[in-house]
């Protein structure tokens, strides 16, 4: 029945050996993941750093890899992010305010919540199909900057709503109660008490949402962002391209020269992402310091 003292000793040594094996395996697994990340970054850097010079940023794409640059793609990305932000940020924060402050325990709010959770899991290319039908064709915006930004706005909306809601939720209810007790209306309370406190969280969440959007190519390809654009978009309805699409275009070419270009563009994209994320972290820390005075 119950093991003897010797058997127990043997069990214990066996078990200690198994623990060590497990810890080793888990650490190896973790290292594989981290190592792959490192290799990826180094590979892109090594391949692309040779192409990085000022002309790379200021040239248009060309048939000759050495002369090709990312100007149109970079500008396209910037314009698109600004427009996407203009559409998505107010609507996203507005929806979050509505769900948290106006309809919190309503059954309706629960449906919207479920809905948003689902939308966050829909593959991005489906948003492309939606944008294609609704913006490009039905509304006639054609394959333009406007269609692209509206599509991307729909894509990031669920993320902005979710993170803004979390930020609003961290505001303690006692602050709202105090405001109401002083006679303030609901909107006054939101505008003067809740939003300022939730703002850092909302901002960081949105920046992170946009940093995801910057790297998206699939929905833009579907709505028809072209892969070879040698001019800058001059209006909302002009055709455009974006950095990830330019990368995709160059990677898909057989010539090695273009691969180097792709790697260089990847470096630029990653730098932009690092800056955005760093900005988000910095802002969060700065506001947290202010608020914890």
């Amino acid at each position: 029945m119950k093991p003897t003292h010797l058997e127990i000793q043997r069990m214990l040594t066996d078990s200690q050996w198994r623990e060590q094996l497990f810890k080793m395996t888990a650490l190896v697994m973790l290292s594989i993941a981290l190592l792959t990340l490192a290799v990826l970054l180094i590979d892109a850097f090594v391949d692309g750093v040779g192409r990085l010079r000022w002309s790379f940023l200021t040239n248009f794409p060309s048939r000759k890899p050495e002369q090709a640059g990312i100007l149109s793609a970079l500008v396209g990305t910037v314009y698109m992010m600004i427009l996407t932000g203009l559409f998505a940020f107010p609507v996203g924060v507005g929806a979050a305010i509505y769900l948290e402050e106006y309809a919190k325990h309503h059954w309706f709010s629960r449906i919207i919540e479920l809905n948003i959770a689902n939308l966050a899991g829909v593959p991005s290319i489906i948003y492309g199909l939606l944008g294609l039908e609704v913006f490009v064709r039905a509304m006639g915006f054609d394959r333009s900057l406007l269609s692209g930004s509206l599509t991307m706005a729909l894509l990031v909306l669920p993320i902005i709503i979710i993170s803004s809601r979390e930020a609003i939720r961290t505001v303690s209810p006692s602050i709202r109660e105090a405001s109401y007790a002083l006679g303030a209306s609901r909107w006054q309370t939101i505008r003067n008490q809740v939003l300022p406190l939730a703002f850092p969280g909302i901002l960081t969440g949105s920046i992170l949402a946009f940093s995801r959007a910057i790297g998206e190519a699939a929905p833009l390809i579907t709505i028809g962002a072209l892969t070879y654009i040698a001019f800058l978009p001059d209006s909302l309805l002009a055709p455009f391209t974006a950095l990830p699409i330019q990368i995709f275009n160059w990677v898909s070419r057989p010539q090695k020269g273009f691969h180097a270009n792709a790697a260089a563009a990847i470096i630029v994209l990653l730098v932009v992402l690092i800056l955005m994320n760093a900005l988000a972290v910095y802002l969060r820390q700065r506001y947290q310091k202010r608020l914890s005075l």
Partner: protein
């Protein structure tokens, strides 16, 4: 006990309420839009192609002269790449999660978790580049018969991309298991490994399963990695060494071409899109249901 707000300027407050309500409702319209677009175009598609052919034909050649509309090759491409991805992500993700949750100190957790999250934040075109121009050539050293476009390379890279999904969510699930359960197990003479594998892991199982389903859904919906590195040859196969085409890559392929709108070839992207949407929707709903069940256990 909550205070009700005083209604100050009724008109102003009312308008604000309406504006915010519209913002909230937009997300519903997005979903309705997606569903409507897919249903309408798929309906149009199935007026010309029979559902039976769509689901059973083993060839997908809508862009060729001899047109076949069997989706199975695209499904097998998606399945193959996603399967490889999950084969990579599951052991790495789960072991990392167990280690971080049950073994690692707070300091290690705090440093490693954000680094793992970076894996999830890398743009997929970058992964595509890596799969095509680094991983595949590397694999070709060991597997000479590996073709330039294949399912193995992008599958492995996709697996790397979804690791944080598996590890973070599984770890959260394990973290939520109350300490009292662990103490009970230790008090019976369990080793740390036994506590982790026999008590914590099973207790967190529905949360862990939810994370795996979500990761699979993400792999299925992934576009750029496979568009760049898997190829454009729809092929009904389970061989990871040859070029295939996934559902997502097909949609990209057509979008890049000059297929005129309104044609049957054009409508195929919506039929494929519908298939994609339904599969990810089912997985997401299942995942949410499992997560609800898990939350109920540990309220």
């Amino acid at each position: 006990m909550s205070f009700k707000p005083v209604k100050k300027s009724r008109v102003g407050e009312g308008m604000i309420h309406i504006v915010l309500f519209l913002c909230g409702i937009l997300s519903v319209f997005t979903t309705l839009g997606i569903v409507a677009v897919l249903i309408i175009e798929t309906y149009e598609f199935f007026r010309e192609v029979s559902i039976f052919e769509f689901l059973t034909d083993t060839q997908w050649t809508p862009l060729f002269a001899d047109k076949h509309f069997g989706i199975l090759p695209l499904v097998s491409g998606t399945f193959l790449t996603s399967f490889i991805a999950i084969l990579v992500a599951m052991p790495i993700g789960l072991l990392s999660a167990i280690y971080l949750s049950e073994y690692a100190s707070q300091n290690i957790r705090k440093t490693i978790k954000p680094i793992l999250e970076i894996l999830a934040g890398i743009p997929t075109v970058v992964y595509g580049y890596f799969a095509l121009l680094f991983v595949t050539p590397l694999l070709q050293v060991f597997i000479p018969s590996l073709s330039g476009f294949n399912a193995l390379g992008p599958g492995i890279v996709m697996g790397m991309m979804i690791i944080p999904m598996v590890s973070s969510l599984s770890e959260d699930a394990m973290y939520a298991v109350p300490q009292s359960l662990r103490e009970g197990a230790y008090a019976l003479g369990s080793s740390k490994l036994q506590v982790a594998l026999r008590v914590v892991f099973p207790a967190a199982f529905s949360g862990i399963a939810a994370s795996l389903l979500l990761a699979v859904s993400r792999a299925i919906g992934e576009t750029m990695i496979v568009a760049i590195a898997s190829g454009q040859q729809p092929r009904l196969t389970l061989n990871p060494l040859v070029a295939v085409e996934t559902m997502t890559a097909y949609i990209v392929q057509v979008s890049l071409g000059d297929t005129p709108t309104g044609t049957i070839e054009f409508k195929t992207i919506f039929a494929v899109g519908m298939m994609l949407f339904i599969s990810t929707l089912i997985l997401n709903l299942l995942s949410q249901w499992l997560r609800e069940r898990f939350r109920e256990q540990y309220e």
